[in-house]
């Protein structure tokens, strides 16, 4: 199947204040998003994520390279008909009520009155805003604005949902709900492309990720391919004394127990034997694999070293 999003050698720079100097926001970025996948565009603040999304939506023109949505340029209205978008820190028309706001966006998608009513009800219910339909958006909290923004992005049943930092500004419950919503959309066959710097959330939902740093793509691929599925280290909690001959790192826990960090499974059996021989008790053993955060920090660290060298 042809990709839903295809980005090839994308480059964008912005002029500095009063036209002096320039800042390279996105540098030779290429990626493609396949139908039905959840794709996370990750990176620290200022990495170029939002600029990439803006080029994807036709809000910003690339200096070089191409972007296509469903094989069409983003400025093509027909391409945008098939997508839903939630911007970062959304601000919507605060003089409208939630229903009026969703009705406006339903009209922009050419839905007729009956269709709009049904879809608005469903979208409001889905994002947990039931009972707040007639409340003006100016009275909404940040989290509620984010929810109504999500309702706007999904109410017309788009094939592609683009979300810019959808979890930022949400409490843990809200973040969980957004994650669940993303997974539900995937189960319905939708493609989700979102940017985030909240790695835990991305790790829980993404099929594939791209890590951006200073406009450059540092890593891209399936999470399983990028992160080794095998345990990188083993954490052992020991109650009582820990013999000094055991390798690995030791940390004192607040409850008086010791956390022993062993370099791998090979070191586990001799360590357990030595601890029990010395009269200690094993309270727990946790094999740890690399997290997305570890991968992210590793890639960013590598990029910074390369930058210093060059």
């Amino acid at each position: 199947m042809p990709p839903v999003i295809e980005i090839r050698n994308l480059r964008k720079s912005f002029r500095g204040h009063l036209g002096i100097g320039s800042h390279l926001a996105v540098d030779d970025l290429s990626l493609s998003v396949q139908p039905g996948e959840i794709y996370g565009l990750l990176g620290p603040n200022g990495a170029g994520k939002t600029t990439t999304l803006k080029m994807l939506l036709g809000l910003v023109r690339p200096d070089a390279g191409t972007v296509t949505l469903f094989g069409r340029p983003p400025r093509d209205v027909a391409a945008r008909r098939r997508l839903g978008f939630l911007p970062e820190n959304p601000y919507f028309y605060d003089y409208l009520t939630a229903v009026e706001f969703l009705d406006l966006y339903g009209r922009l998608h050419g839905l007729d009155a009956g269709e709009r009513r049904g879809r608005i009800d469903r979208a409001i219910e889905r994002v947990g805003l039931k009972g707040r339909e007639k409340t003006p958006l100016r009275k909404f909290s940040k989290g509620m604005v984010q929810r109504v923004g999500l309702a706007q992005a999904i109410q017309h049943d788009p094939e592609l949902v683009i979300l810019d930092e959808p979890m930022s500004g949400l409490d843990p419950v809200g973040r969980r709900e957004v994650r669940d919503l993303i997974l539900t959309l995937k189960a319905q066959g939708k493609t989700i492309f979102f940017s985030s710097h909240i790695l835990q959330d991305a790790e829980m939902v993404c099929d594939r990720v791209a890590i951006l740093f200073k406009g450059k793509l540092r890593a891209v691929g399936r999470l399983d391919d990028l992160m080794s599925p095998e345990a990188k280290w083993v954490e052992v909690t020991v109650k009582g004394s820990v013999p000094s001959g055991i390798g690995g790192e030791r940390r004192e826990n607040p409850d008086g127990s010791t956390l022993l960090v062993l370099p791998g499974f090979d070191a586990l059996a001799p360590a357990v034997a030595a601890i029990t021989a010395a009269g200690g008790t094993i309270a727990g053993v946790w094999p740890r694999r690399e997290s997305l955060e570890d991968l992210f920090l590793r890639e960013i660290g590598r990029a910074q070293v390369e930058e210093r060298v060059s």
Partner: protein, 254 residues
């Protein structure tokens, strides 16, 4: 067409939920109502004073709305970033500008109907037929539509303050366009004369749309003159809105 209508309705809704509009409208209606008392204090035909002040109120308060609502129409959307979500929808940029302009026209039309209606009622209450004022009121709306087009044009590429200055400057120059002709005869250099010609040709001739004095004095406006003036204003406004669409098409929203 649906997208333009949706943007226009939203623009209209935004304006009618803004208290400033009601303040302008209240003052305009107060001027029309108060004109009767002003007329009592002056020498001459009372009804003429009411017509004069009333038509001036329709024009001036309409101008205030065209400028103050119009100049932030597009720039506010960019500043508040609401434009990001809107242009991510299946809405072409020209449809967005056309919708914004149509919404502003609706607000201006509602204002002209209300204040103009109050003037007609005031004149009728004084026992005179107000029908002769109708063409003048319609041409005020046409004039406002030209001014509104400029405020949308300026709003599409600059901030509200500069847009307001630009729109008011065009309004003033538009009413003084005859002076470029006069000036042309007095300047010595060919370049200055060319500049006068260009300004005379490019700036709107808003005096052509101002038939208030004739209407107040009961001079009938020939149908041909009225139709030509209305068509001139409408075409001019459309040309300026097209220019605004071209400018907006090229904008980036970083």
């Amino acid at each position: 067409m649906r997208a333009i209508a949706a943007v226009a309705l939203n623009t209209f809704r935004e304006a009618i939920r803004d208290r400033v509009l009601y303040l302008i409208l209240a003052v305009a209606l107060a001027v029309v109502g108060g004109s009767r008392f002003v007329a009592m204090l002056t020498v001459g035909s009372e009804v003429k004073i009411v017509k004069d002040l009333g038509l001036a109120a329709v024009s001036i308060f309409g101008l205030l709305i065209a400028v103050f609502v119009g100049v932030s129409l597009v720039s506010k959307e960019i500043e508040r970033r609401t434009v990001f979500t809107l242009l991510a929808q299946p809405v072409a940029r020209w449809q967005f500008i056309a919708g914004k302009y149509a919404g502003l026209l609706l607000v201006l039309a509602a204002n002209v109907v209300l204040v103009g209606g109050a003037v007609l009622a005031a004149v009728a209450l004084m026992g005179e037929s107000p029908l002769a004022l109708v063409p003048a009121i319609v041409l005020i709306l046409v004039e406002l539509s030209v001014v509104a087009a400029f405020s949308v044009l300026f709003s599409s590429f600059t901030n509200p303050i500069l847009a307001a200055v630009g729109t008011v400057a065009v309004y003033v120059a538009g009413h003084l366009s005859w002076s470029f002709d006069l000036l042309r005869k007095r300047v010595a250099t060919a370049a200055a004369r060319t500049l006068c010609d260009v300004l005379h040709a490019v700036l709107p001739n808003l005096d052509r749309l101002d038939v208030k004095a004739d209407a107040v004095h009961g001079v009938a406006i020939p149908a041909g003159t009225f139709a030509a003036a209305a068509a001139y204003g409408a075409f001019y406004a459309i040309a300026v809105v097209v220019l605004a669409c071209i400018v907006f098409e090229r904008r980036e929203f970083a």
